[in-house]
């Protein structure tokens, strides 16, 4: 729409702008009428079934002599916790320091504390009984003391985050001198490899987000959250990309250090989610993080460093060690942050959001790298080195991913 479009009479324009309120007012009227009709509307289609009265168990923590259960009321109606069982035995409990039952409003959360002498490594079945007698059962495969926020614990998680995040990326970046001397054909193959591994990360993150959201209370609309996360991060990173390329209309695709930074951001967001998953699994005793698993993650993430190195090698500008160090931190350090969040917070909602954001970011970077390869690679997107490199990227991620399964 140009600035010289015919000017409509101003009062007319105002009238039509005011018209925008009409649907909203009509909606309010329709909603009021529906609420007023209330039960008689229900009567048209039979009586409504009773609420399921099931709780959503967000997290179960074990401390010496105590089990803490984080619960949410996932349903529209109020939900009253009347009794708690551990392994089919009624136990005393308190909610927020007050002994006995508690009524939760819609989506209200509470922490239920049960004094209990639990046995390390034993499985436990937690039962939450509503005032209507409905039972929500939550199985704990093995009781392990939950890590409490502490300097020591935070340091441990930071070391693990650094080992699986920063170290492999930095090592991968060490391929840079070799890549600089590579022929343009092989370089474009490595660029395609970057796109391949990011494609893998994108699908993996999306699958993770969808799987995690399925466990959320349906009232939280996890699917919508995933869509929102993907879209927001894709568009957000598009904005970053356009800033990095000089703010133009994107006539010249981003390359060199700029593209490498973008790749590093994409990988960093993914590592945030990965760190969160590791931290939360460790805290809840669901994951035995042996050295084998750490080594697996290191090898898996080594390819990520290679992915960042490829566009740097392509670029004209030389990158100093400091600049490369920053790239490694951008891509790897979020794993530490994620591990802290996962280790110390009730994080199921955040985990969904993080993985959705990771999927959107990876998708954006794939598109960005694709545009670059299409422009620069001899033979374009369909040349053998590009197709081969892309597939090799996915295959490498798949194969090294087996080490962490």
């Amino acid at each position: 729409m140009g600035a010289d479009s015919p000017a409509a009479p101003r009062d007319g324009a105002l009238r039509w702008r005011l018209w925008a309120f009409v649907p909203a007012i009509l909606l309010i009227g329709a909603v009021s009428a529906t609420i007023a009709a209330g039960d008689s509307l229900d009567g048209l289609v039979g009586t409504a079934p009773p609420p399921a009265d099931e709780f959503s168990v967000r997290r179960v923590e074990f401390a010496p002599g105590r089990i803490s259960i984080h619960v949410t009321n996932p349903q529209r109606e109020e939900l009253t916790l009347a009794q708690v069982t551990v392994d089919d035995a009624i136990v005393p409990f308190s909610v927020g320091g007050v002994e006995g039952g508690r009524t939760l409003g819609r989506l209200e959360s509470a922490t239920v504390d049960v004094p209990f002498q639990w046995v390390e490594d034993d499985p436990y079945a937690i039962g939450l009984i509503s005032s209507s007698g409905a039972v929500t059962t939550h199985d704990v495969p093995a009781a392990v003391e939950t890590a409490q926020p502490s300097l020591h614990g935070a340091a441990g998680l930071a070391v693990i985050g650094a080992l699986v995040g920063i170290v492999p990326v930095a090592l991968g970046l060490a391929w840079l001198p070799s890549l600089r001397r590579a022929a343009p054909r092989s370089l474009s193959a490595f660029m395609a490899l970057t796109a391949g591994l990011l494609t893998f990360l994108m699908v993996e993150a999306l699958a993770e987000a969808l799987e995690l959201q399925a466990a959320l209370p349906s009232a939280l609309n996890g699917t919508g959250l995933v869509v929102l996360g993907v879209a927001a991060s894709y568009l957000g990173l598009t904005l970053v990309a356009s800033r990095l390329s000089g703010g133009g209309d994107g006539a010249e695709p981003l390359g060199g250090l700029g593209l490498a930074t973008l790749v590093a951001i994409g990988i960093g967001v993914h590592n945030l989610g990965e760190g969160l998953a590791i931290g939360s699994s460790l805290a809840l005793g669901e994951l035995a993080l042996g050295t084998f698993l750490i080594v697996g993650f290191m090898i898996h993430n080594l390819t990520e460093g290679l992915g960042i190195a490829a566009p740097v090698a392509e670029g004209a500008a030389r990158a100093g060690v400091a600049r490369l160090g920053v790239l490694a931190l951008v891509a790897g350090a979020p794993a530490i942050l994620g591990a802290w969040i996962g280790g110390f917070l009730v994080s199921d909602l955040l985990a969904v959001l993080f993985f959705a954001v990771a999927a959107g970011a990876a998708l954006q970077v794939v598109v960005e790298v694709g545009r670059y390869v299409a422009r620069r690679a001899p033979g374009g997107l369909t040349s053998a080195p590009v197709v081969g490199g892309y597939l090799a990227g996915i295959a490498a991620m798949y194969a090294t991913g087996l080490l962490t399964a």
Binding site: A82, I90, I129, S131
Partner: protein
Amino acid sequence: MRVTRRRLLAGAPLAASAPFAVMALSDAHAADTHTMDGVLMSGEDMAGMHAAMIGDAVPAPDGPDRILQPPPAYEPGPVRSYELVATEKEIEVAKGVFYPAWAYGLAGEEATVPGPTIRVTEGQRMRVRLLNASTHPHTIHFHGIHPANMDGVFEPVAPGDTFTYEFPAAPAGLHLYHCHVTPLKKHIAKGLYGALIVDPKTPRPPAQELVMVMNGFDTNGDAANEFYTVNGRAFYYARHPIRVSRSRTVRIYLANLTEFDLINSFHLHGEFFRYYPTGTGDAFEYTDTVMLCQGQRGIVEIDFHNTGHFMFHAHVSEFTELGWMGFFEVGD
């Protein structure tokens, strides 16, 4: 309104004239403190302890104590009449947990699960009129010896209808009554059952008499019990120990009406008792644990040697921890 146990006693001549008083340790205990023999315990101390003190301290007037007290024996006259009403009623089966029960109640009184105890003398005609005030057909099927047309199997009583069961009571002992309309499991598990005491013509020796009907409640419809109780409320007699005296025999009319689980049991701590199966003979076993299948019952006679708190519970540990546990507070 807060109904105290003392007020309940004062208002019930039957209970007041009983040879013993059923009282809580003290009505003054707040719901948020736990006591055992006067020792206050915090929530943390409770870890590993029996969840005995779960629940509020205020006894309900239509709660388990109504069942605990048997009606007086040997009402004179050729006929002893009862009027039972079958209704649908939400009952509290554990602190804060409400169950949509089907329940029998004496006409003009609150319906309960288990239903009111019916008591007659052997040979006396028992006349029980059933008014079905619920929305499902029901009957009363009595255990004992009676004509086929009084069996509560062939004459479902439609909602709003009545039926009168009448026959001479026999044999002496402890029996049951329950609804026998199909689906049978549902009609029993919902709460339509109670104890039937047929006193022998020659009275049993005097005793402090109690009725204990063991049962369970399937609150989530999974054909398994979530709560186990005696007389209808989980852990009730843990919060409100039954006061008895060691100078007199304690006689318990004990019946098992637990649905879904094949057996239930009764175990007494620190003491042995005489167990008379079905209460029909003189032979007894001297034991501290008896096992009863669905519908099985008998008479327990305890002569306490010691005073203090003695636990009683199902020796099925799962049932114990899901509500079937209580205490005798034995005094001199």
